[in-house]
Symmetry: C2
Subunit: 327 residues, 2 copies
């Protein structure tokens, strides 16, 4: 069977139009964010919205829970939608909610979203104290039930702690190497080495704040970075996690950044003069553009197998070993 | 394969001791109540407690979600635990929670618990106005996803409405015929006829307030009632739903009766002078006593096949057609 095309992070303003673009782009599976600052009950409202979409558009999308769902998607010409949180707020202070969330289909959870959480430290805090007492317990529980630890928005020390404490490989679903573009959200060589040496996965982001030269980043530059990362970390631990925020109004990026934690606006990766969602690079604006990335990678020295792996095969293999109970 | 033994309603104060009694009694599946007055978040706390029991006692019990789990239980010498609500309070005012609850493993939901709910009228209200606007929508949604409508604590008209409106057979999981013992919680011949003619199931209760002569009810009287009901309604639509409340302190029966809806004590089926849980009849006090009921039924004119059906085969067949999405 053909290697699947998987995008391991999107937070678009989803709609039937976008689901059709997924099909037109031949995207077999997408990991979508369903919570930033929501508590458990609010997160469930987001699940309900997805259930309604699954009910109304069964010809386009369905809920993904296991790696086999990606193969089903390929066979039936649909897109499997996998759920994740960018913050542990939906589990509140209650470790029992980890298994409940797995039962509801959650397969990825970030331990932090920029700020300190009950579990770990976010990448925007001044001081990173690493995994907390609860954080260690929750990582163990995530390992047990099969929710992937995602450290995309976490600090350096917390990320290293999570890699060390987790008994299963973890993920950084959407970020790029800091050696290519030095940004708070991009990851140090030390983190990426520890991540990939432990079997963890890095998903390359197309979000402009994570790109060298921002929206002006060329496809060639992006693909040369992937080529270099493949040489350095091995292509098998790399994939795509675009962080596509298509069609979202700017009020959403404010929600992502500020939630309910501050009365003062925080611009995150933006600035006061450029506070909204950034412009996308001209070679990637929606789910129909993955062919551009593949073409770009074919212009590098990467092998066809490596490219297949980066475009989805590696995430599929990671899904196969990550989403079930620990053996 | 041997016909399974199924008890389709218990609300014991569950513990490893009771799980062992289930094994000693050869009980293959039990439908347990996990909510009376809980809202969604509170009900999830009860699910968490069950998850912990499943994690700690995998040799005794596991979570049941499909009829096949009953067969798995028989093969592995364990008890499959199926979840249900005695009140729709966990879905709050939110129809989207019906599917969420199914995803969490809920397989039965009463539309009312004695009082008026958002969906229908309970059997203790003075006037029964039947299914509400939301009630009709929720029954349709329960039909779609595969949660069984349970009218054990509902009024006459609401029950008839539910039977008529539901496109799948419904259940009265724990009650007896009013022609044997006239009590608010027992069911009229008209209701039982409509229920069973539409393929619905009645589970016979051993809760003393539902028994002729209460705790003094003899096994012979109970089994003669079942024999008579089999002649009248057909044995294939009958099963057991003991309503076993073993080991519960009396504070729990007060919670069941009053929840948070009243500042004044309500004695339900009890009285001021006898307000606690009633004494159980001497032939049934825990999960090891199902053999007594079988022996009692063997003392009637019922065939071995009919007895097998009543002791679990009929519930299994009902599970097979009830727990999945509507076809």
């Amino acid at each position: 069977m053909k290697t699947p095309l998987i995008d391991n992070l999107q937070y678009a303003k989803f709609s039937p139009r976008i689901f059709e673009q997924m099909r037109n782009g031949g995207v077999d599976a997408v990991h979508v964010t369903i919570a930033y600052h929501e508590n458990f009950r609010e997160m469930v409202l987001n699940l309900e919205q997805w259930n309604r979409w699954f009910e109304m558009h069964p010809d386009l999308i369905f809920k993904g829970t296991t790696a086999a769902c990606v193969r089903d998607a390929q066979k039936t010409g649909r897109t499997a939608i996998f759920f994740g949180f960018q913050n542990p707020s939906p589990i509140e202070d209650d470790i029992g909610l980890v298994e409940i969330c797995h039962q509801l289909g959650i397969r990825f959870m970030q331990l932090t979203y920029n700020n300190q959480s009950l579990l770990a430290t976010g990448c925007y805090e001044d001081y990173d104290a690493g995994l907390t007492r609860m954080g260690r317990q929750v990582v163990t529980e995530m390992n047990r039930v099969g929710i992937v630890v995602d450290m995309s928005h976490s600090g350096e020390r917390s990320t290293k702690d999570a890699i060390a404490h987790s008994t299963r490989p973890i993920a950084i679903t959407h970020a790029n190497p800091a050696w290519w573009h030095n940004a708070l959200r991009n990851k140090s060589d030390a983190v990426l080495t520890a991540l990939t040496e432990s079997g963890g996965m890095l998903g390359f982001s197309v979000y402009p704040h994570h790109l060298a030269a921002g929206p002006a980043c060329t496809l060639a530059s992006f693909c040369q970075m992937i080529e270099k990362a493949s040489r350095r970390y091995g292509a098998r631990n790399l994939g795509i996690g675009t962080d596509l925020c298509q069609d979202q109004p700017d009020s959403i990026v404010e929600w992502m950044r500020v939630g309910r934690w501050s009365k003062v606006i925080d611009y995150g990766e933006g600035t006061a003069s450029d506070s909204g969602f950034p412009e996308m690079p001209d070679w990637f604006s929606d789910n129909r553009d993955f062919g551009n990335i593949r073409l770009g990678l074919e212009g590098t020295s990467l092998s066809a197998d490596d490219i297949d792996g980066i475009m989805g095969g590696n995430w599929l293999r990671f899904y196969e070993s990550s989403f079930g109970p620990q053996k």
